[in-house]
């Protein structure tokens, strides 16, 4: 079936708007789209989106990120700030790492680093204490989006740290167990809420929490 921007699409649908665009400009075909001979075909179910000038993708629901590897990723000892062969960083098996991918190719083992290209660690590195839970990728994208009021409204209520990874894992750390649980529930509860509902929920949670703490 032929579809256009904003439509709900299924795998096997195709759309033609790209080919009719100005041929000189660069077109970016994002996740969920695949070019085959004559048309651009859709490979995931969701909503077809476009960002000007020529970026197209499918907004779909999924729990697993396609980083090109179902296998384990490599993390080098030397990919930490100030690490040398003699001065090894303190990383144990089972530690939670906030890292980014340098290689994400379909045919090679993915590789992680905890430094940027200047050799600084920034916020990357081992995350100590805290609590990790899994969620869908859509939720990660949702809370990371600048329009989402969740973290904006929660951060004024009580102090906490949060790291949301695009692999569907969120790490949170707050001063007390109660605050951690409240934060975790707030994040998970926001998955299917609109912006107004999220604001209302954050207020509710902070009010309840305040009632318990004092």
């Amino acid at each position: 079936m032929k579809v256009s921007i904003g439509d709900v699409v299924l795998p096997g649908d195709y759309f033609d708007e790209i080919s009719t665009d100005n041929a000189k400009s660069r077109v970016v075909i994002g996740p969920g789209l695949r070019k085959e001979e004559d048309h651009v075909y859709i490979t995931k179910a969701g909503v077809l989106k476009k960002k000007n000038p020529h970026t197209y993708w499918i907004d779909s629901y999924q729990k697993r990120v396609d980083i090109g590897g179902s296998t384990t990723a490599a993390l080098s000892y030397l990919s930490f700030e100030g690490a040398t062969k003699k001065n090894r960083p303190e990383v144990q098996v089972g530690d939670i790492i906030y890292a980014k991918l340098v290689i994400a190719s379909k045919d090679m083992e993915p590789e992680l680093v905890c430094i940027d290209s200047f050799g600084h660690k920034g916020r990357l590195g081992v995350l100590t204490d805290g609590f990790v839970f899994k969620c869908s990728i859509n939720l990660i994208r949702k809370i990371l989006s600048p329009q989402c009021p969740l973290l904006e409204s929660l951060k004024n209520e009580w102090p906490f740290e949060l790291a949301a990874g695009m692999n569907g894992r969120i790490w949170i750390k707050a001063n007390s167990m109660k605050e951690t649980i409240a934060l975790g529930n707030a994040v998970l509860g926001a998955e299917f809420m609109s912006q107004e509902e999220i604001k209302k929920m954050s207020n509710n949670i902070s009010a309840t929490l305040a009632g318990h703490v004092y």
Binding site: V8, L10, G12, Y14, R34, K44, Y61, R64, D107, N138
Partner: protein, 218 residues
Amino acid sequence: MVPERLQDFKLKPLKCELNFLSKSDGSAILSQGDTVVLASVNGPLDIKTTSQNIEKATLEVLFCSKEGKPSVADRFKENVIRNTCETAILGCLYPRTGITLTIQELENYGGLLTCAVNCACLALINSGVGMRHVVAAVSCAVNEVGDLVLEPTQQEAESARALLYFVFDSRDKNLVTGFTEGTFSEDTYEEALVRCRLASDFVFQFYRDVVKKYSNVI
């Protein structure tokens, strides 16, 4: 397609819930009439080297019947579903990995296999695995008089002279899988194929409605 003709094709009422299971990568529960099937997808995952394929993903299908006892009929269903889904999945996007598809029969009042194939397709849609197209299964029975009955009930299927199963893709409505039981003439087969192909539109429209319902809340 003539609208009046489409009205004649009454399929069983379809009801579906996506993301039914919290831990799997994708899941769906589908009821077609009184027949209910639950499907779950996990993957692409790392699998043991002996079953890895360097060119595409390995699809593993497990069919669990209500009694829980594995039988030859279940293996047959697994084979049909695996072959059907392998054409639908873009396996070349996930080389050297495995995708597991688990199907649990919950209620069987006829049309179990079509329900299982459709449910598997919905679970794959929910998991976000790259797919070439979606598939829709429609079954058809030839009764004692020789008339065609779409989506037969248990009684109709038992008394039928022949049963025909078809699976179509969503691109050009090509036949993906087709198999039959019993005796029938070549013309009957041709007519059943045409009717089921028309009826598959309902199933594809249903998939679209389900995805639409879920895309509003994300």
